[in-house]
Amino acid sequence: MKRAYLGEFEELVLLTVAVLSANAYGVAITHEIIQQTGRSARLNQVHAALQRLEDKGMVTSKMGDPTAERGGRRKRLFSISAYGQQTLNDIQAVRNHMWSLLPNAN
């Protein structure tokens, strides 16, 4: 297969990372998904997905600054990699193409 497989939830998380740009970390991503899609998401699912995405090289991460509400702990901030961006674009392109082939579209 040409490109890495991306699960539906992984895709959603990857998109959210892209949307939140500089401020993408566990809690923020979870809340964003809940707000924007109305579906339920739990921290552990998001963490797991983020880890898989990082393994696949679609996101990169670095540790941020400590904050008080985190008990003085740092957050891991994620950003989308070029490869991740490319994958999202590919998916979008395929979808658009398919939609355009739909006979009774619009």
């Binding site: 970390y25 566990g26 809690v27 923020a28 979870t30 809340h31 739990r42 921290l43 552990n44 699912q45 963490h47 797991a48 880890q51 540790m63 904050t67 008080a68 509400e69 985190r70 008990g71 702990r73 740092r74 957050k75 891991r76």
Partner: protein, 897 residues
Amino acid sequence: MAVSYDPKVRPPRWARALLRYYCAPHLLEEVQGDLDEEFYYQVQKAGARRARLDYIRNVMGFMKPFAIKRKPTATPSSPMNMNMYRHYLTVAMRNLARYKAFSAINITGLALGMTCCLFIFLWVQDEKRVDNFHTNGETLYNVYQTIYADGQVNADYSTSYRNREGRSRILIDGVRQAVPEIEHMSFYATGYELPWGHAETFQVGDKLYKLEGSRASEDFLTMFSYPVIAGNAKTALKDLSSIAISRKMAEMFFDTPEKAIGQSMRYENRLDLVVTAVFENVPAHSTLKFDFLLNWESHMTRLEWATGSMRTMVQLSKTADIQTVETKMNRFLQAQLDKKEPVKIQLGLQPYRDQYLVSNFVNGKPHGGRIEYVNIFTGVAIFILIIACINFMNLATARSVKRAKEVGVRKVVGSSRSSLIGQFLGEAIVLSFLALIVSLALVHLLLPAFNTFTGKQIVSPITSLSSWIILAALMLFTGFVAGSYPALYLSSLKPARILKGVMKFSNGALWFRKGLAVFQFVISIVLLIVTVVISRQTSYVQHTHLGYNRENLIYIRVEGELSKYDKYLAFKEQASHMPGVALVDRSSEAPHAMGFVVDVNDGQRETIDDSDAIKWEGKERGASMGFKPVSVGFDFLKIMNLQIAEGRDFSRDVSTDSADAFMVNEEAVKQMGMKDPIGKWVSAWNKKGHIIGVLKNYHTHSLHEPIKPLIVDVKEYEYFGVIIARTEPGKTREALASLEQVYKAINPNYPFDYQFLDQEYEKLYRNEAVVARLSNVFAVLAILISCLGLLGLVIFAAEQRTKEIGIRKVLGATVGNIVTLLSKDFVKLVAISFIIAAPVGGFLMQQWLDGFAYKIDLAWWIFVFAGGAALLVALFTVSFQAIAAALTNPVKSLRSE
């Protein structure tokens, strides 16, 4: 996200701890941070309670491989690991080879412990197998009866019967029809085994043998797994004249089992029986021992009873509820009983396979018995193994001075604590593996001796898989227990300090090891006390004066022609004049183990009006005491060397003596409450007479029970009993030849069979003898193993104080001074152990002695002896090493600095 942060509201502490525990360290910070942030967000949004629940849910949610999996460290890949393992093994082997004495002590100690353990394990296994081999074992039950009478509760396995309309009828004979849950039921007559019972005589053609056997109901061979090799198990015991015989018996009479079927056998020169089945020889694991079984109907109607003691066994349906069955059986029983009976009888069921281990009754319920020995010895096995493990710990820690540098270097080079622990545990397991090999060899060598020791026939179980699993478990267990402390201790050492050469033990560690030594000595001293008490009691039993002379006595059963009065008189007359025979007389029971007791509330008494067997002048109505009646010949007192307290002996010259004279013992006088017994009337069954003399008390049965009231009369015409012959000292062989010659002439249809009274007496205490011998061995072993441990401690102490000893010597200390210096501490340890062990041992032994009516006192010297012996052995061990340390040249120990 701006969330106000309230430090008072916190996530549950345990959930946090759990997270910290399982979460991989490289993820912990972000995960904890996210969870906390989410928690405070939820506090704002939904309140503290909901937030906490949510937190817990999140913690649980993270329990996934991705969060748990540790980041792989760079170094260990698998070939590297293999190298390390090989290296560990090399180091272990080098250590073994370098410190040969240490290794030998270690392995010997562990091997001894394991050998003990294995032997006890084999014994316990064997004990548990007894009566537990029947295929229907799950559903087989023994019926026991509990009898309430005169405020006393007695229970046993016997079955009550009543004499009605001229025949004996078992009360619960018809219970099988009344209780549908009972699928099979069988009676079995006991009391045909020695010492109380006797072998019976069979004749086929000119083959004449005595064999022991019994009588059983039709169902017996189908209920129990005594495999039938010829004939039909279902019908074998159906006919009145049927007999089932063992393979051994079949081969004795008919060469092969197949040839035996349908053959006729002459029984006791009285009845002709037909062989209907041959069963495999009864295995050693069966408590019922028999070479033949006779038909039950025959037993109830026409056979001679040895005792009235019969057992009832039932096989229930798989789904039966024990309590329901018990209730139904009792309801059936009560309907059979006469309303006027003075006793209350109740039936109970005990799983058949428990009967061997749990055969005592307390308050009318089965409770205790051999199971206590099994438990005690299991405990001893575990203790001995623990002692051996403790030694290993002690020795290993003692040696840690030497190993410490190695640990330091390993740590500096980068070894983690866990791999050090692994290394030392591994070494312990290697050692315990070597010990296991040694102990297997020992077990193999000693098994025959062990078998004769315990009177068992245990075979080496090397072939079965389960025993290998147990051996492996034993090895791993020993390795882990023994290796745990050294591994934890050594791996905890701080490399900087070790490598600087400072090697100090915390007080805690020292106390711990001294505690271990005390523990070992407590066990050793307790075992010593046990050994001394048991062997003293055993020798007391063997040497106590029984009130009669049991040496040079032979007894022969009265049977066949000898049952006739004139033949008996002829035998007595002829035998007394033969060489080697001093005196011949008779008794209705073997005088060392009289089992017959009358007028005790055993449930056989019909009604209160029915006359008691024994009555006496001034007896109160309903008074009852357990009389032992015996009928003897005129020379009984002379032949037994019995002492008369008052009155006179039976005499042929007094014409009334054979019909009117009774003698009683002092106990009987006391219990009957007679002031002046001579001349008072007594009666036994239908014979009424007067007391002519009082016998001094003598033991008529085992010393477990107190002496019972005895009543003696003369009945030389009795058709049962034993003939007693006193031989002249040192002429036993001539006497036996003489007796056999006379016996063959008078009683040709019976083989000449005799017992030595003193040997039979000792057999009464076979169990005690086994326990005595076992505890001897274990005490020696425990002491040996404890001394190995002590040796470890003293070696360690000497090593720690090498410099001190050197300086002392330079300053002029003598060898004696230094030995005292090193030994002092250990004397203290032994003293503390003694203080703990003495009361424990005393208590245990008092319990054990309470099982005897006649027993030794727990004298103070027993304790002193045990303590002294332990102390001596300890001092010897300690001085061994202490002298070596004291003799070393101080130059050697001091030059290194």
